[in-house]
Symmetry: none
Subunit: 207 residues, 4 copies
DNA sequence: TATGAATGAGTATTCATTCAT
DNA sequence: TATGAATGAATACTCATTCAT
């Protein structure tokens, strides 16, 4: 029971590590699946029992990190601080996952963004959905506290926030902004404007 | 003089038309440059006197349409209506360019978005810049009229607006929203929120 | 006792049926042994306890049918009719086995005809031999009755007849003749000529 | 003018020779197209400007030889001798083409016999047709001379003769008969029987 | 008998692009 | 300008078969 499963997990770990090492060393395109299999000490065919195709190796690498980062970010959420800081805290955690490997990150984002259909598309959709789902309560709480208007439903708000994060991330990945600018000022400005735009309409507002 | 130039333009037109026809018929990847050359009735090598590489054929197809659409959109700008309607008018014109060929549009966006360096990257950057430059006056006018705050400079505002447009477009291209929803309600909501978030802080506002 | 054996036969039947179904549905090459195993509800490895390799699945399908058809054909041999009708009766039975699945038949014939060595080659040789052996008495009887010359030994005659059958079959399988033409007129003509060519030299024949 | 064409023919020759050499050295399957290209001193891609696929390299090798052999055989036809000797003369020429390279011949025959559609299928059909067409006059002459019956049209007779040749050839290629037996006695017997079977019905024959 | 995870061989072919003419 | 023959890089992935359990 444990034996079989353990062997499996061990193999997957070796594959993941070999892929990461080689991708960082030689770049994604320059690395062949055969090399990865060799480095992981499995047969070429075995690799494809663990992933469906090469791009999925990227997913294998990032999804684990992203999951962990998101879990940690939500666990340590600075709930006493303004919403915008909480958002920056969470999105910043994502930025930090990508930071050490911008080239690979670009490949990963590209693969997720432009591949249609397939396991990877599904997983990326699932991630986005679940991520947004975890943000919704934050917006709902803000609405309940009267600090956020209710003209737009919380899910829509979450989605837009994610879009803004994605734009800031892209700006960095494509060289339009350096990491710090993108992660801090660009993202913050985007979210500030969004939050302001969603502020509740004050009663008795002099027109 | 005109003779030479005319022949040249005629060839380019044939190439552009052949490329479009074949791309729509068989898809971008499935179409070979040789086929396009044949359909355009030029030699294989001649094709590359008119474009630098295959992706540039996509650009050839879209840039012309986009330029025309943008020029027309700005020429017919409904200046008397609220800014948001003007923005929707302009961005909507871009949506309409892509509408008849979503698959090709996805390829084009992908090529522009994820290719780094090269003529195409430059042109795409130039387009974005010039497009945003044409929007800046709109925002400046709005600021001058006191309908838009000055916390954020107009260029930044224009850039964010473009990002929101791009997100709405992507939502359609990736099947997250149908065309009408993306072009109309999604884009409008995004921009509404942005505009509200950028509203000037009213003086004498009771805090 | 019966239990074990019955289970075995049941599995083989399931494998045979799954293979046939899938081969007809998707074609021989397009069907994987894994799919067959799944459809037969056995493990991938189990399949290879029942056949040695993939081509043998073809044999499994055809040999059963062919054996039955040949047995039946010889059992119902129209012994009172001319030899040529008896031959057509027997060869026709083979044609009828292949008729419902020409594509698969082509694969089978190819595998038998061009694979050298191996179990399948042996079985195919054995089949041909035994089949010809069953025909030999027919020719011998004809010779004994003085209706067939004795210049060529009956085994040789049987072999040539089989060759002619094979040619007619091939003509159909390769599209040079439709089924009916191949099975009826082509085969009949071939055999008629052969039989005439083997007619006994009449004594006292005026030269 | 001659320059271009000459270069082309030279390249084709080099490819053909390289292919033959390597096929004989290492076997058809064991030889890679890349090796052939290298040996012929052309780029890998260039190879495929001269043939459509690997099997066609076989055709390139054999068709030239076969054409030459057939032309020569018909040119030196022993017209004064019995038809059967003329047939053996022609078919024997084909046997002799294959003799020095039985393994390659088997591959070639297989490729021709079992590939459906494509350039090779067409060429093989064309060859068979044209070959049979050249034999037809022989049979017609025989019919005109009253040495061959007219029950079966000459084209059909030619076709059957070809079938018999093919069977004898196959017998050799598959090890059922050695070369000499197949080429001489097997083929001769087949044709003798056929010719006798097609002998004219003698008038005034006592029934 | 049965399982099913693991193996690993194995290369023809395309096609964007160039460059000698 | 135009031609079109020539170039050559470049690898992910399948799947029949095996074998440790």
């Amino acid at each position: 029971m444990g034996r079989r499963e353990q062997a499996r997990q061990d193999k997957e770990r070796r594959i993941r590590e070999a892929a990461l090492t080689l991708f960082l060393e030689k770049g994604y395109e320059q690395t062949t699946t055969k090399e990865i299999a060799e480095a992981a000490d499995v047969a070429t065919g075995t690799l494809f029992l663990y992933v469906q195709d090469k791009p999925e190796l990227l997913a294998l690498i990032f999804q684990e990190r992203i999951s962990a980062a998101v879990d940690k970010a939500f666990a340590r959420l600075p709930g006493h601080r303004p919403l915008i800081d909480q958002l920056l805290h969470v999105f910043g955690a994502l930025f930090d996952v990508y930071r050490p490997m911008p080239d690979l990150a670009r490949e990963f984002v590209k693969a997720q963004f432009f591949v249609r259909g397939g396991k990877m598309f599904d997983e990326s959709t699932r991630f986005r959905d679940s991520f947004q789902a975890r943000m919704i309560p934050l917006f709902e709480a803000e609405q309940a506290a009267g600090r956020l208007g209710t003209d737009y439903p919380a899910p829509f708000v979450a989605r837009m926030a994610f879009s803004l994060y994605f734009n800031a991330l892209s700006a960095w990945l494509h060289g339009a902004a350096d990491f710090k600018t993108a992660r801090t000022s660009l993202l913050r400005s985007f979210l500030e404007i969004q939050m302001r735009g969603l502020a509740p309409v004050r009663k008795g507002n002099p027109s």
